[in-house]
């Protein structure tokens, strides 16, 4: 059952990273995408926040679903 746990763990890690970035206000720095950074740090924080967000909404659910499928397969084998 280690692999499903690893997948869930990775999904959770992405969610925590996104939550931390969100609480730190990194969303405001996404204005850099349209060429209007809040500060010089926006050029980094903005794209990183976008990447974290896309990872949370695209990759994390896939990992969680895959982990669930894997768990069900393992349980069925037992």
């Amino acid at each position: 059952m280690r692999r499903p746990a690893a997948l869930f763990g990775l999904a959770g890690l992405l969610a925590v990273a996104y939550l931390a970035a969100s609480l730190a206000g990194w969303a405001e720095h996404t204005s850099a995408i349209c060429g209007m950074p809040r500060s010089p740090a926006s050029w980094t924080l903005g794209p990183v926040f976008v990447a974290l967000y896309l990872a949370v909404v695209i990759v994390a659910p896939i990992l969680a679903i895959a982990a669930t499928l894997d768990t069900l397969l393992l349980l069925r084998r037992k």
């Binding site: 995408i33 060429g35 903005g46 695209i58």
Partner: protein
């Protein structure tokens, strides 16, 4: 075996999740109206919010934001009588401040620095970009309720536009020295068309002549799409670009509807895209050289999605009733725009929000332009002159 099972699980998970994702970002009509109402309220409350920041990047954005907000509020004033008074007040404040700035600082106040690189080819000309959008703003306001205070300024600019276009070998006005844009020329012609409805003038012949010239000389030979920019004497500078085409096609709806629909259909085919419920627009047709600039905005690799083109594609899709694609474009905006409580998108800026507001409000103004002409007297009876 274990690796194969892992890959299979991931693949199955992706097949389940990816086609579902867009449903979390789809916006139905009530949600779209809520966003539009919030954006409108935000613009009415603080019309010049963020102007200084935008001007630091591109003074044109400050100017264009005003145009799109005025057009949007004019639409909302027609569609929502309860908003009419405050919308007209906000429009008047924007127009008056714009005219004052143009008078005090000159057209260059709203232009990129290269506007000063040299004189216009037509020594008597002023920037068509500025004149055309001001005429459009004033005429849009008058189509809701005529206002005498700005009519003469609009008529003077209209006369200047017609003179400049007629004097040009390309039948087009310069927005910058020796640089004409289809975006600006079609906006000017749409503004003149609106002005004709309220002032009793007639610029129909100019519009027809420009369309005829455009069909003969301003279409890309491969895609038959309008080019974006050209010199005063008609040499093409930039080929078809989404950041010009969607607005140009929208303008042409009140000038030559068949041509407009042809241009939108071609642009949709060459530049429009969607996948798994998310839509976007490219800036350039396939095979065309890509040179990102301030108009295209950032380009997403692989997809070729252009921020500038995708933003204006919202207006194109709305104006042409392409609700399926509009839905996918809005889903993409919801996914990657990070909307705040005011309805504005953090990854966008005020001009982007203004374009969205106009796209979501589009309809009543163009409908009024296309209604059978009943003369200025009839329009005066609608709301009375102020």
């Amino acid at each position: 075996m274990k690796r194969a099972r892992l890959l299979l699980s991931l693949l199955l998970a992706a097949v389940v999740w990816l086609p579902t994702l867009h449903r979390f970002y789809a916006l139905d009509e009530p949600e779209r109206e809520l966003i539009a109402a919030r954006l409108a309220a935000r613009q009415v409350a603080a019309p010049a919010r963020g102007a200084a920041e935008m001007r630091a990047v591109n003074p044109e954005w400050d100017f264009m934001r005003r145009t799109y907000v005025v057009l949007a509020l004019a639409n909302r004033a027609l569609a929502h009588p309860g908003e009419r008074v405050r919308s007209l007040a906000a429009i008047d404040a924007i127009v008056d401040q714009t005219l004052a700035s143009a008078d005090e600082h000159g057209d260059v106040h709203f232009l990129l620095p290269y506007a000063k690189r040299g004189p216009f080819m037509d020594p008597a000309a002023r920037s068509l970009f500025i004149d055309g959008e001001i005429v459009a703003m004033v005429a849009a306001r008058d189509l809701v309720e005529p206002r005498d205070a700005t009519r003469q300024d609009a008529l003077a600019r209209a006369a200047r536009i017609e003179r400049a276009m007629r004097a040009s070998p390309s039948l087009s006005g310069e927005s910058y020295p020796d640089e004409c844009w289809t975006f600006c020329n079609t906006t000017a012609l749409a503004g003149l068309t609106m002005l004709d409805r309220v002032a009793g003038t007639d610029h129909g012949a100019l519009a027809r002549d420009w369309v005829a010239h455009a069909k003969a000389h301003l279409l890309d030979p491969k895609t038959k799409l309008l080019v974006s920019s050209y010199t005063w004497d008609g040499r093409v500078l930039d080929g078809p670009e989404g950041s010009s085409l969607w607005m140009s096609a929208h303008n042409l709806l009140v000038i030559d509807e068949d041509f407009a629909r042809d241009q939108y259909a071609r642009a949709r085919r060459e530049l429009g895209a969607s996948f798994l419920g998310f839509g976007w627009a490219r800036e350039w047709p396939a095979g065309s050289p890509a040179h990102p600039d301030v108009d295209s905005g950032p380009i997403v690799p692989v997809l070729g999605a252009s921020a500038g083109s995708s933003g204006l594609a919202l207006l194109g899709a709305s104006a042409f009733g392409d609700d399926a694609w509009l839905g996918t474009l809005l889903a993409s905006l919801e996914l990657a725009g990070f909307r705040d409580a005011d309805g504005a998108y953090r990854a966008s800026n005020d001009v982007g929000d203004a374009v969205l507001l106009y796209a979501l409000s589009f309809g009543p103004l163009w409908q009024r332009v296309k209604e059978p002409a009943s003369g200025p007297a009839a329009l005066l009876q609608i709301g009375g002159a102020r």
